[in-house]
Each structure stands twice: as structure tokens, then as C-alpha cells.
């Protein structure tokens, strides 16, 4: 496309606009704004209709999870952690459970490993479907959201059938998973995947072969590859910049080493490329879910016996467990002092990097109408930024 890429601004440099000059206007976007991915706000300094400076403001969703967790028993934290990232709770459940299992030296049964993988891939798909609706909406394309959110709802139906909850599944419990698949569930999964895949093809047609989308997204929010390591950019944002980094491959957790897939890598590193890459990952996710359904053992235990949760003490130690979520590296750093409650839990969410450090720098020079599109293209979830 002919449009120039966002001019590169060295991170150390920051234009300090003289607000008293009358040349600039301070504008708040959010917290109540449809173009914000959640409850957060941006303080934009604009000149004409382009952004000169941006400051992100968070704290609207801070609940103090890490502190709350220090007051709850190991098992009591299990329903709490999933609330950290609302649209994508399962990664919290997995990371917390895996950290506990590592500290306590618990081996998870094979069936649970597969069911966890299935659960994570399903929520990845649901989360991407939610995102694609937002991305399209931010570029003025409401129809996509109508389709994709419905597709997401079908995936949530599967979760409801499997775990008993739509949004908060609380399925991946330390020691395994909470229940075996109900009868007919795997058939429903495959049926749903067919519908979703069909729909994604339509979305691809409408959204990615679309002149308006291309005009607005191509070249928008270019992330220079050298930012990736400087700011800790992970996930699709890093892959779109040409880095072949995927924790599913690199760390080989759960059943991923036994599944055949290759991380999708892009090159252009702009909003359009990121969107296309995520779409490719959605198709890949559908393929992974089908593989998992094939591999899923029909017999065997799905949960390891744990000590009495009311006085479960975990040996002193610390660990960091990370998983590849839709937005990048999601990690739990858990410290135990040998007691019945965590000494410290620190959650590493990818949104913090993307929505604060990267966003503030990328948004300079962008037209204010594109701020929302840029923000969504980074795929961030504010509840996870501040926990």
C-alpha cells in the first residue's frame, strides 16, 4: 500500500507538547468508550486529528488479586485466578494449577493433559473470535462482530457442556481436570468446529479481502522488530514481526509436543498483518482441536488424588510457569514458604507490555480515528493488565 508506515520514534525520545500554546488538544479516550478494549483510558494529546502524545491510564479494574491470593488456601485460589483475564480464564487456571503441581511434585494423568490442552485451545479460539469482532468493529465493520461473537458463543456452549460454566469454567483444577467429557461432547466439538470454520472463511472473505480494511489497517501500528525484545513483546504481535516464537513449541508443555503444528509467522508487523496472522492461528486452532479430539484417550483417570485441600501445605519453593495464550506469554510466578497459602503470586500478562509500553509509543502520529483499531490490533485485555 502507498501509505507510509508510522514514523519510527526512538523510545527514549518523547515529544513534550506545549499544551499552553493552544496548538494541541488533550483528549481522553475511555474508560467509557466503545473503542477501548475494556475498562481503561488513554490520555491523547492531539494536533489536528493526529496523536502527538499518549499516556495510558489504568486502575479501573484493579482488584488486588495477588494480595487476595496470599490470604486464601492453595485450593481456594483456584476459583479466584480465572477471574484475572475475563475473556480467557483458562490460561490462568492452567498456569496456577501447573505451578502448584510443579511445586508439590504432582504428576497429572494423561487424560487430564489432553483435556487441558483441549480446554486451552477452545478458549484460544473463543478469545480470538471475540477479538476479531472488536477488530472489525474498530474499523467500522459491525457485521463481523455479529458473526464472530455468535461463533464464540457456540464455543462457550461447549464449555458449558464440559465444565458447567460459560465464562468462568473452573475446569482445570490442581491435580487434573474436574470432570470427564460428557457423552456426545466430542461430536459436538467437531460439529461446532465445522460451523466455526465455515464462518471464519466468510469472515476472511469479508474482512481480509476488503478495500476499507486494507486502507485503514495496512501500515498501521508498525512494530519494528527490534522493539520485540526491548519491550518484551510476545505472541502474535511478535510473530507478526517475524519472530518464530511460540511457547507451545518452545516450552513444549501439556500435549503440544504430541500435536503437529508450526507457529504462524508474519513479516509486515502492522495491524493488518497481525490480524491476518491471528486468523491463520484460528484456522490452526481448529485443526489442533480436531487433532486433540482424535488423540484424547477414552479411558483412564482425569484427576490425581490430592491431600485434603483444607490443610494442603506445599513444600517451600518457587516456580514460574508460562503458557502461550492468545496475546502472548502468560505466566504465573508462585512462591511457597511451605505453608497452606501462597507466599507470593505474581502474574505476568502480555497485555501490560502491549497496552502500556508499546501502545504509548505506537500511537504517536496515528490519526485519532485509528487509535481504537490500533489498540485492538495489539489484542489487550485490561482486566489482566492490572489484576
Amino acid at each position: 500500500m502507498s501509505r507510509p508506515k508510522t514514523p519510527y520514534v526512538a523510545p527514549e525520545e518523547r515529544a513534550v507538547p506545549d499544551l499552553d500554546s493552544g496548538k494541541y488538544l488533550v483528549m481522553w479516550q475511555g474508560p467509557n468508550h466503545p473503542g477501548i478494549t475494556g475498562n481503561m483510558s488513554l490520555r491523547l494529546v492531539i494536533e489536528g486529528d493526529s496523536v502527538v502524545d499518549c499516556e495510558t491510564h489504568v486502575g479501573y479494574l484493579h482488584r488486588g488479586f495477588e494480595k487476595l491470593m496470599e490470604r486464601r488456601l492453595w485450593m481456594q485460589n483456584f476459583p479466584l485466578v480465572c477471574r484475572i483475564a475475563v475473556p480467557e480464564p483458562d490460561f490462568n487456571e492452567y498456569c496456577y494449577a501447573a505451578a502448584l503441581e510443579e511445586l508439590a511434585g504432582i504428576e497429572v494423568p494423561d487424560k487430564a493433559v489432553w483435556l487441558r490442552t483441549l480446554s486451552l485451545e477452545m478458549i484460544r479460539l473463543a478469545s480470538f473470535l471475540m477479538w476479531i469482532g472488536g477488530q472489525a468493529g474498530a474499523f467500522g465493520h459491525g457485521t463481523i462482530a455479529q458473526w464472530s461473537v455468535t461463533m464464540r458463543d457456540y464455543v462457550l456452549d461447549l464449555f458449558e457442556e464440559l465444565s458447567g460454566g460459560r465464562i468462568y469454567h473452573m475446569y482445570i483444577i490442581p491435580g487434573g481436570v474436574r470432570a470427564d467429557v460428557p457423552p456426545g461432547f466430542l461430536r459436538h466439538v467437531l460439529e461446532t468446529m465445522t460451523v466455526v470454520e465455515q464462518n471464519l472463511k466468510d469472515i476472511e472473505l469479508v474482512m481480509f479481502h476488503n478495500a476499507v480494511m486494507k486502507m485503514r489497517a495496512v501500515g498501521l501500528g508498525y512494530i519494528p522488530p527490534d522493539w520485540v525484545d526491548r519491550y518484551g513483546i510476545t505472541g502474535p504481535n511478535a510473530r507478526a514481526a517475524g519472530f518464530k516464537r511460540d511457547l507451545r513449541k518452545d516450552r513444549g508443555y501439556l500435549a503440544y509436543p504430541r500435536l503437529s503444528f508450526e507457529p504462524v509467522v508474519g513479516a509486515e508487523s502492522d495491524a493488518f498483518e497481525r490480524a491476518r496472522l491471528r486468523l491463520a492461528e484460528m484456522f490452526q486452532g481448529i485443526d489442533l482441536i480436531r487433532q486433540i479430539v482424535d488423540f484424547l484417550p477414552s479411558e483412564g483417570p482425569f484427576r490425581e488424588r490430592l491431600p485434603n485441600p483444607l490443610h494442603w501445605k506445599i513444600p517451600a519453593g518457587e516456580t514460574y510457569v508460562a503458557a502461550e495464550c492468545t496475546r502472548g506469554e502468560y505466566g504465573f510466578y508462585v512462591v511457597s514458604d511451605g505453608g497452606d497459602k501462597p507466599r507470593r503470586v505474581a502474574v505476568r500478562g502480555p497485555s501490560y507490555t502491549h497496552a502500556v509500553s508499546v501502545m504509548e509509543r505506537l500511537v504517536r502520529g496515528v490519526n485519532i480515528a485509528d487509535v481504537a483499531g490500533l489498540m485492538v490490533s495489539l489484542h489487550t485485555y485490561p482486566p489482566e493488565i492490572e489484576r
Binding site: 457442556e161 472473505l205 478495500a211 485434603n308 490443610h311
Partner: protein
Amino acid sequence: MDIKDIIAPFAVWKRAFEKPFTVRKPIDERPGAPRYRGFHINDADTCVGCGTCESICMNKAIDLVPVEGRSPSGGDSGLRPRVDYGRCCWCALCVDICPSGSLGMSNEYLWIDSDPEVFRYVPGVDPKPWDGAELGYRRAEGYRLLDMERVPMPELSHAEGVKSFLELVKGYSREQAEREADRCVACGVCVASCPAHMDIPGYINAVRGGDLETGLRLLYETNPFPEACGRICTRACESACAIGSGGDPVAIRWLKRYIADQVELADYGKSLPRAESATGRKVAVVGAGPGGLSAAYYLALLGHKVTVFEKDEAPGGMLRYGIPEYRLPYPALDKDVDYIRSLGVEIRHGATVGKDPALAKLREDFDAVYLSTGLPSAYRLDVPGDEHPRVLDGVAVLAAATRGEELGLGRRVAVVGGGNVAMDAARTALRRGCEVDIVYRRRQVDMPADPEEIREAKAEGARLIERAIPLRVEDSGDGGARFVWNEAEMVQKEPGKRPVPEPIPGAVVTERYDSIIAAIGQGPELSYITEADGVEVRRMKPVTDRTGRTSVPTVFAGGDLVNEKKDAISAIADGHRAARAIDRILGGRGD
């Protein structure tokens, strides 16, 4: 600009003719999934009100509240969980952990109101539209957060056990004890059911934490016979145990024994308290059984000088003379008694109160007297011919076995009765090489004996003859006796009461035995109380108030002699209670 980018979006016009995604009436057409975690349901009759749901709930959304029409009874706190939907996060950990399995969740999810105060109710008690919902979250089959199976106790095999008087139960190892202790949810339902109100969750917690000194201290706070009770207690606590409502109850008795077994007698002093100073008051205790010695222990702890009068040659009462060695080895009992002695308690053996010294003399010489003489003699069979020389007293047989005397039971032995004494007598006879029949009037399920004892007696080779009403004993003419009984059937004569055995006309059975051991019940020996003592006796029991005080202010009584339960732990509780009451009349604070 590619022309495709302009045309492609129009391709999805084809969708215009398809069935829309829209659900016509979402509220009516979409019930929750079969596993949906909706509002709670609770089977209030299965629920025991243990409050484990309350403990696991991280939101403090569950409170246990008293409900109408339910009062606390053994194993049921009388409380039921009330769920606050202003707190609940629908995680269903409460359902997963519920020991009795009464909690569940319906698949109902609609509850809308203008008043924030209404969002709480007691499931299963307050009627709700989703009561009895078929669908909804239940915990996965076979998977629970709690371990419902007891850590198996290493025991001698029955074939091995019956050959000798070696102790059958070997006791837990540290690893086993800690694993068993881990099953406890510390709900405390057991504390109310224990006659001595021992701090059971406390000492189980000590076992779990490996802090046996604390454990021992907690044991001795209410019970100075942990070795004995850790082996032979009737363990009302385990019947009450909330874990038992859906699985094996926690092995509370074995854990108590584990603590006492692990600590050497020499180390007892490190963790147990001693009297700070002597008060100079003197108390006499009549009977060195568990009740008497408990009273002696707590009185000594309070600084009083205690003298125990015991007619037998060794202390322990029924623990020694009534309970066989294979259940309670004498070294274990001696450990308990020796610690009590080490506090300065003097035990005078061979002193039969009433003969020497008289009760009046004790009242004169001591500031207070505690009577704990128990039920020393078995009642007769109460059938014609029961004075036959081959009809033996069950209690006397057990005492003779303790003294190591030759029992001379012969080859075939009948034990009449269904209590623990009958089982002990039967198993003692088995160990002396006899063939044993246990003859009982009712059915096995009606037996007052510990079910474990019955099972073991049968496993060791005793034959159980149920529903046999003794008719008479005849002399067989060859040194034995013929026992005649009438077969009976169980008849529910009065609703709500236990069924009564009714003889079947004509079904009379006669068997020849070398010995017939009567163990139908035991009676007190009260001839030492004279009218001049003024101790009021009603129905062969000294009349006491709640603390054990009789009509004479300085005379107290307790144990089997007085209480209804007639087991060791109740006697210990009586002893403790009386010790505190005695301390109060002697000017102490009674604690």
C-alpha cells in the same frame, strides 16, 4: 487496490437466505447444560451440618445457620449451610468437598430481584423453584476433594491372632498417621459427641503437623488414658465424624493411640503440666478403674493428695480385668497408670472399701471421697438351672484370664449375650482353644457390641447363633451342661422402638456345652454404702447431680456405677468432672 477487495465482501450475500443464528426466545429455549453450575440444592436430611463447605468457600458465601425442626444430635450439628448469592462465585468447590455428598447445584440460573437483601437462602430448607432439580452440577463420579477411604491399619491376621494374646492392631507409622490425620476437616462435630469432649480436631492437627508434644498435652487435658482409649474406646466420635457420612470416618482412635505410642513415658513430663503447689487437702478415690484414676489424675494436678483404694492386686479396673490383653496390652495400660502415679497418686491395693476401711472412715479421714466402683459382677442368665456349676460369670472369666489362671472352660463353650464383654469372653475362649458359640437373643445388627469386635470374633472362628431366647440349663450328666433355647423371630411390637424377639412355638434347640458363659449385663456392688452414710441410692445407683455430687456434699460418684453409657470414656469424663467439682468444694477454682 485489487478489484477482488471490492467484490469479495458481496460474496456473503448468500447468507441472507440461511436460517439466522438468532434464538427466538432465549430465556425459555435455553436451559442450563446438564452440568451447569446454577443455584445450590441440598439434601437437608443427608447433610450433617459439618460446615466443610463453609471452610472451603473462599468468599465466605456459606454460613451455617440453625434451621427450624433440626436440633444437634450425634453426628449432626443441626445447622445447615446458607448460601449468599451476593458472595457466591459458583465455583462448586463446596459441592466437590461435601463429605456427605448432599450438596449439589441445579441448572437454574435465573434470579432477579430489586432487593439486594433477598439473595440468600438455606438450600433444601427454604423452598425454591429449583428444589429437586435433576440436572445441574454434581461432582464427578468417584472423584472428591477429600479422601473418603481410611488408611488401612496393619493388623495380625485372624488365623495368627487367635493363636495368642498378642495385640492384634499394630498401630500406624508416622507416614500412615499423618496421611490419616490429613483426612480430617476439623469440623468439630466429633467433640460434642465425645463424653469427655476431647479436643479431637486439635490433636489430629498436631499429628498432621508432627507436633506430638502438643498432641499429648491436648489429650491429657481431658483424658489421662490415651493409651487405653486409643485402643479400646467405644469411639462415639467416629460414628459422628462428618467424613463418615460419605465414607470411612477418620480413625480418631488410632490417631490418639499413635500420639501416646510415639511419646516415651519419660518424655511425658516435657509436655504435660504438673501441680504448681500442694493444697494440703486429701481426697479418697474408691476404685482404680479409668474413672477413679482420672479423678485422681485431675485432683493431683490441682495439688490435692489423692489416695486410691482398690480391692484388686493391680490398677486399671475393667481396663485390666475386663479387657483382654490382645486388645489392650498391659504395658500400654501400665504406661497410663504409671504416669498418673508419677504425679504422687497413691494406690492402695487389696483395700476393699466397706470391709477395710469403711466408707464412714474415709469420709472422716479425707476431705472428699469419690466413688467409682463400677459394675463388677455379671448378672445371672435368669433362667431355670442358671446356678449350674458350668454356668460361668463372663466378667469373672475375663478377670481370671488376666490373672493368668487356668480357666477350665472345656472344649465347647457358649457365650450368652451380645455386648463387648460377650465378644471379649468369646475371643478369650477361642485363644484358649475352645469352640465357641455366641448365643444372642436378637440379631447381629442389634448387638450392642462394637461391630468390629463382632466381625473379628466371627472371623476368628466363633459361631454366632442369633435369635435364641435361653429357656433353661440342664445337667448333661457328663460334667457339662445342656443349654436349651427357643428360636425366636423379631417382632415390631411398638412403632419407633426396637423390635422384640418373640419365641417361635415349638422351635426349641438343645446343645451340650462344657461351659456356658453369661454375659448379658453387669451389676453394681453397693454393699459398702451403709444407711448411716446417708448416700441416697435410687434403682441401685447413687443419686448424683450433674457434677457427680451425691446427697452427701463431700461424697461424689461416677463412672459405670452412675452413668448411662457405661464405657471407659464416659467414666473418664465423669472422673474429670467430679475432680473439678471436688476442687471447688475444697476451695479451688475447679479448672
